[in-house]
Symmetry: none
Subunit: 191 residues, 4 copies
DNA sequence: GATGAATGAGCGTTCATTCAT
DNA sequence: CATGAATGAACGCTCATTCAT
């Protein structure tokens, strides 16, 4: 197994265990076991458990962003851009329930305290797409005159809830429902 | 300190510690300490930690429900009813940040697994108010023809996010913003 | 409830709990509960748990001795005297399984360390009957020339085992078997 | 210290502490201490305390059986076979007082409940030697017509008592006394 | 570099004993 | 006197982290 394969295995094992049963069910020894490496080996790749979790989170961000942005046309009409991003995110969560479950757990854990803010969509990285989208919308007066934070809340609050409900089996989000739900979100932020 | 004072102190201490820093920062000994009681004393009031957490959650539910329902007029127009409940819930969270933080933590913890669904607004108690509200709206064709789960998601997703953002200081939800935000939620569910 | 009734209740409760499930299953609070008194009350009658256990043991000794000696004729032939005592003890244990179970537990517990020697049959009290019996037998050269300790072991070892096996249901000691078994013990010590 | 040395040290430490002062005087931390290992280390070798105790018991059984059987001639006369086994067991206990004390404690403890019956001499393993011995004796009509349980009690009751008395210093069982005592046991079971 | 046995601080919980009522 | 709520030391056990191999 190559060096980066090992890192990959560790991260994958951690993701699975945490997503499936929460942080409390993912001791380092169990992660090592499932990754097929020695317990001490993890510490060659990650300084400690906090760092492992943090990097796992960053990995997921990095996998998610290109998928969401794929085919995104910054010059399309605002509504279309919103629907593109919103449905892509929701679809991504639904298709990657382990990622979603981990991200949720992460935000409500000691590991995620300093990430509390939704970095995915916030100021970090190059991923200001949403910010730009909202700012465009505000300046064009197509959106209600809310602070960005509120526009985020109105958009992502439902998305996260819908993803959770789908994953837990409370509702089946087929393509039609996905689009309709994101359109509803649009109604909440657009004038 | 009277018997019921002691129970109160324990519950309060647990609430504070968990709300402030999460479950991992609330070992029984620390809860006891902050409550000003001996470690063993907790076990006179609560069979074990799980039970303590569970009862704390129930306590909060019980405190919250009457506040939300106060002044609720089931015969008012649908929009008004929605705004009443939505703004009340959001205000409650904002005014009781410890309650909010605990409830959030609880839902994303091993303690809250069986409560995953938002019981507050779900089928339990007499608090089917929201369900009734949505069912009324659907039958009167005032709401978009979504499953209840999605209507819940569109309503509560933003509320929870807004409460969190306010508590974390990312936005200041004054009365005007509260009402405007809930009105925006109404836009997402109404035809 | 009179003062001595209370003591009686406490001792009875302790006996039952310990005999039924061992010392580990008899915390003071449970003893108090079953005795129908407050936990603190026990300490008015017994300085501490050790003393309670010790006095319970003494109580049982005192109840047992007269039953064993009843009808004992010191002038009867040696064999008859042995059979009298041996069968009486065995019968007593069989008819009072709680007493037996407690005594057994007691001897193999921290509480009974200083009582290790079989006081019932040893030098204490007026109960030197057995000692006298053996000494008579030795001087009359009816018994094998063993130290007293060995004569005790040959006599009581089987009795205790038989009682235990009966109580645990491994064998049913009816009157015929009781007598035959004690006669067998006699064979082991008599010339 | 090698891996199996460590297991050995833990088992030895547990044996010593329990034999010397009983289960109550052998908390895991103390066992670890005396074994010269960390507290957590014990759990690499034994799932929990119950398992440690249980395996210690099995270890002792396994050490004891071959010693007892050594030189045993199944074709020798019955009396000789009985004396062989009886004296060997008694000698073993006398020479291994820690083993004896532990086994005694074990049988009268919550750990040993399911072993209540003397498995050493009962049906388990290949060690039906005693059972076979008694069954042979019964079929040849050399033994009194007792149930096996009673023959066991008549044989082992005294042995256990003699071992205890020797270890506690109440009597010194030299070779002559050992043989004479076991011969006395034989008298109790033989016709 | 990789390992996994070893560690020990820290957890949730119990219970003999005390003492205010 | 009797009570039982309160106590806190001590228990069995877990797990992030280290380090000899």
């Amino acid at each position: 197994m190559s060096k980066s394969d090992k890192r990959e295995e560790i991260v994958r094992a951690a993701l699975e265990l945490i997503a499936e049963n929460g942080f409390h069910a993912a001791p380092m020894a169990m992660i090592a076991d499932r990754a097929g490496v020695g317990a001490g080996t993890i510490y060659r790749y990650f300084e400690n458990k906090d760092v492992l979790i943090g990097e796992l989170y960053k990995d997921l961000e990095e996998k998610m962003l290109p998928v969401i942005q794929e085919g995104y046309d910054i010059n399309a009409p605002l509504r279309e851009r919103f629907l593109h991003l919103g449905t892509r995110i929701l679809r991504y969560f639904i298709e990657n329930p382990l990622h979603f479950r981990f991200i949720e757990q992460f935000h409500n854990s000691p590991y995620g305290v300093e990430h509390r803010r939704d970095k995915i969509l916030g100021e970090k990285n190059g991923c200001n797409i949403f910010r730009e989208l909202f700012e465009d919308g505000l300046s064009q007066q197509l959106l209600k005159a809310f602070p960005l934070t509120i526009l985020f809340a109105l958009s992502f609050g439902p998305i996260v809830n819908l993803a959770r409900d789908h994953i837990l089996g409370f509702v089946v989000m087929d393509e039609t429902l996905i689009v309709a739900a994101i359109e509803a979100c649009w109604d909440s932020i657009s004038k």
